[in-house]
């Protein structure tokens, strides 16, 4: 009896080994130990290997002269620049091609996603064939195709294709006329900015009016009138003029104008067309994710198609679309690293390629490159979490 009482008062001691907490601690300790051992093993090996090769480590190479040239830079750079400047050139080139690629891929992707859902059989079929072809072929292969195969068919410098407006296409790239606005042109720019502001004011006013009187105002037309006509009238009245600097053949190549080298164009084209196929699928899934009942409910309430899409379908579809869309943007940025294969000087090509070769600092260079991509990815996921928290549907 006493025994039982005692047992009831204090539960029997679990054996040391069967206590889940202690087991958990033990496992974690083992994992940590194994990882630490592995890290030490690698560190020792690396140190031994480096010592044997007589290599030093450190980041001081960042401040030594790079010695090589880069042909496509957004900031001033020459062979006398330092390695950190070369790094910056590469990083900016990555960001440039990614930013433009994202814009193009988004437009094309939304177009494709909507086209695939089109009731028009032929349009839907073309979009489907496009998506199924593009997304099942490796991007690198597509880049090679756009660069090597298409480049080969373009004419040489002296047989360049010339288009309207001074646009020139040849094997050295795409040349556009560079606008050179005169002083009066600033008025036109001001007019444009004022028009935008005015339009925003009208938009806000129209919303208030709708809410207070129920009357709608043609905001889209106002936009057209303000943003097109106001600058146009200013242009005519001030007599502002824009001269164009046209690319001209001089020596080997065209000089002047805006030069887009084929590496850039091929990369941009490849990335945008490839990512657009994936964005198209994302958009399609997002639209399909909106229950058909929502459409029916909106229809039965008498919404016109435009309002139905704008007020009911799109806000719901965007919740589904935005998170995968962001990761597509991130993928595009990461994929821009394939440029190393077609000679566009972005981060991997300039830094992980040339810089690593010239300095031999494998560990430092790989570490920094990975850090850059890790940062980009973290920034993206912070944005995504913020967005998800903001738009999350409230549930019970």
């Amino acid at each position: 009896m006493a025994d039982i009482e005692a047992r009831q008062k204090s539960p029997p001691k679990t054996s040391f080994w069967n206590d889940p907490k202690i087991r958990g601690l033990f496992y974690q300790f083992v994992v940590m130990g194994a990882l630490a051992a592995f890290a030490i093993f690698i560190a020792l090996n690396t140190a031994a290997n480096l010592a044997r090769q007589g290599k030093t480590t450190g980041f001081e190479f960042f401040f030594s002269t790079a010695g090589f040239d880069i042909f496509f830079t957004l900031i001033p750079y020459s062979r006398a620049s330092f390695y950190w400047e070369a790094f910056l050139v590469g990083l900016l080139n990555t960001l440039l091609v990614s930013a433009i690629g994202i814009v193009i891929a988004t437009f094309l992707g939304f177009f494709l996603g909507i086209a695939r859902l089109s009731p028009n059989w032929i349009v839907a079929r073309i979009a489907t064939v496009y998506v199924e072809i593009i997304r099942n072929i490796p991007l690198l292969l597509q880049l090679f195709f756009w660069y090597f195969a298409v480049l080969k068919t373009l004419p040489g410098v002296r047989q360049s294709l010339e288009f309207a407006g001074g646009t020139i296409l040849n094997q050295r790239g795409l040349y556009l006329a560079r606008p050179l606005p005169d002083d009066n042109f600033t008025f036109v720019i001001w007019a444009f900015l004022i028009a935008i502001v005015a339009w925003l004011v009208v938009k806000a006013w129209a919303k208030r009016r709708l809410e207070s009187t129920g009357k709608r105002f043609p905001v889209a037309w106002t936009f057209l009138v303000l943003v097109v006509f106001l600058p146009a009238i200013t242009w005519l009245t001030t007599g502002a003029n824009v001269a164009f600097e046209y690319p001209e053949l001089s020596g080997f190549n065209f000089v002047g104008g805006i030069e887009l080298p084929p590496e850039f164009v091929a990369l941009l084209l490849g990335l945008s067309l490839y990512t657009a196929a994936f964005i198209g699928e994302t958009v399609r899934a997002g639209i399909l994710a909106v229950d058909h009942g929502q459409t029916e409910a909106a229809q039965s309430l008498g919404f016109r198609d435009g309002d139905r899409l704008r007020l009911v379908v799109i806000p719901q579809a965007m919740r589904v679309i935005v998170p995968p869309l962001t990761s597509q943007y991130l993928n595009l940025t990461k994929n821009s690293s394939l440029a190393a294969a077609i000679g566009y000087p972005e981060l991997v090509s300039v830094f992980l390629g040339t810089t690593l070769n010239q300095t031999g600092r494998a560990i430092e260079v790989v570490f920094i490159t990975m850090l850059v991509y890790l940062t980009l990815s973290l920034v993206t996921s912070v944005f995504m979490n913020w967005y998800n928290a903001r738009v999350a549907l409230v549930e019970r």
């Binding site: 090589f68 020459s78 480049l151 070769n357």
Partner: protein, 338 residues
């Protein structure tokens, strides 16, 4: 369970695939039965797979000479094609025993990368190739040109130096892979292709119509190309170095693949020493005393290798020039075997 099996399988694979290279490189080579040699993936005349997918070229022959010296078998060599990016890592990691891959002997490489150059197999210099139709006479007319270059090479730095020193603009179009550099030049992306002039000559033969292209006279750099080995194994360095010297000495002494057996009976003490008839110079390197005989018997002397792969009678068609022996007005000079 599945995991364990995979792990074991992987571990086994790793153990099989990962050769060990001790400091005693020669012992390791003798144990595995072949020399592992790093070459380019394709520079005709230097190293490239031929029509039957066998490696051939003067740098390949050098590797075969090592095989002949060690095993009396010129086929006891395996080749690893490397990009310029990987080559030094491959050597220092022990993936290859010797790097014979159009690599320029420079101070920073010799002192900073943990490798030793064994000598100069080919004296080269950087040149420019342009299209005939462009009518360029000199490298100093290249201002504003688009130039195709392989990334991470001395070529890239030399070009930057050259254009900057002469106050000229240029567009460096840089690729990781040699093949892509040539392809881009051929497709018309660049006006100029620059690399070592020997490689220019070699690549010119691979262009659709070689006669449409000319190599400019200017040579803008010194590019002594030679084999290299890991630092810290002097025996292996000696073998690498004296294999090169042996084929040069053979040429100087007039020993050829054809007459080497005859030469065994020569009265010239220098030839006797070379072919191991007199003295045992192989022993100090851990080789047999007829090591040099085996090389020449299998592959011939330097001149024969040169003529076979890059000489005037080949598609590449390079005259001996500075690569002639010192006795013929060139700068190839091997220390005596004595």
């Amino acid at each position: 369970m599945k995991n364990t099996i995979v792990t074991i399988a992987l571990g086994g694979a790793m153990a099989l695939m990962a050769g060990t290279a001790s400091a005693q490189t020669l012992e390791a080579i003798q144990a595995k039965g072949y020399v592992q040699c790093g070459v380019t993936a394709g520079v005709p005349g230097f190293s490239a797979p031929d029509a039957d997918n066998n490696w051939s070229g003067i740098e390949v022959d050098y590797c075969r000479a090592l095989g002949a010296a060690i095993f009396d078998d010129a086929d006891a060599v395996r080749f690893t094609p490397l990009t310029s990016t990987e080559r030094f890592a491959a050597l220092s990691s022990g993936e290859i025993d010797v790097l014979s891959r159009t690599t320029t002997w420079t101070m920073s490489r010799d002192t900073g990368l943990g490798i030793n150059f064994a000598g100069t197999l080919f004296y080269d210099g950087q040149g420019f190739m342009v299209r005939k139709s462009d009518g360029i006479a000199s490298a100093f007319d290249l201002s504003g040109a688009a130039v195709c270059i392989e990334s991470g090479t001395t070529t890239e730095l030399n070009a930057a130096d050259f254009f900057s020193a002469n106050g000229m603009d240029y567009n460096p179009i840089v690729f990781i892979d040699q093949d892509e550099v040539v392809k881009a030049y051929e497709d018309g992306r660049c006006d100029v292709y620059t690399t070592d002039s020997s490689a220019l000559a070699a690549e010119r033969t691979r262009l659709g119509n070689p006669d449409d292209h000319v190599i400019l006279a200017e040579i803008i750099s010194k590019e002594p190309l030679g084999p290299s080995v890991r630092q810290g194994d002097d025996v292996w360095l000696n073998i690498a170095r004296w294999t090169l010297f042996a084929i040069l000495n053979a040429e100087e002494l007039g020993v050829t693949q054809a007459n080497v057996d005859e030469m065994l009976g020569s009265n010239d003490p220098a030839i006797k020493r070379l072919l191991g008839v007199e003295g045992d110079f192989g022993a100090a390197m851990g080789l047999s005393k007829d090591w040099a005989y085996n090389i020449i018997k299998a592959l011939g002397n330097y001149s024969e290798m040169y003529e076979r792969h890059v000489g005037p009678d080949t598609a590449i068609g390079l005259a001996r020039g500075v690569n002639a022996l010192w006795t013929d007005g060139g700068i190839q000079y091997a220390p005596p075997i004595r």
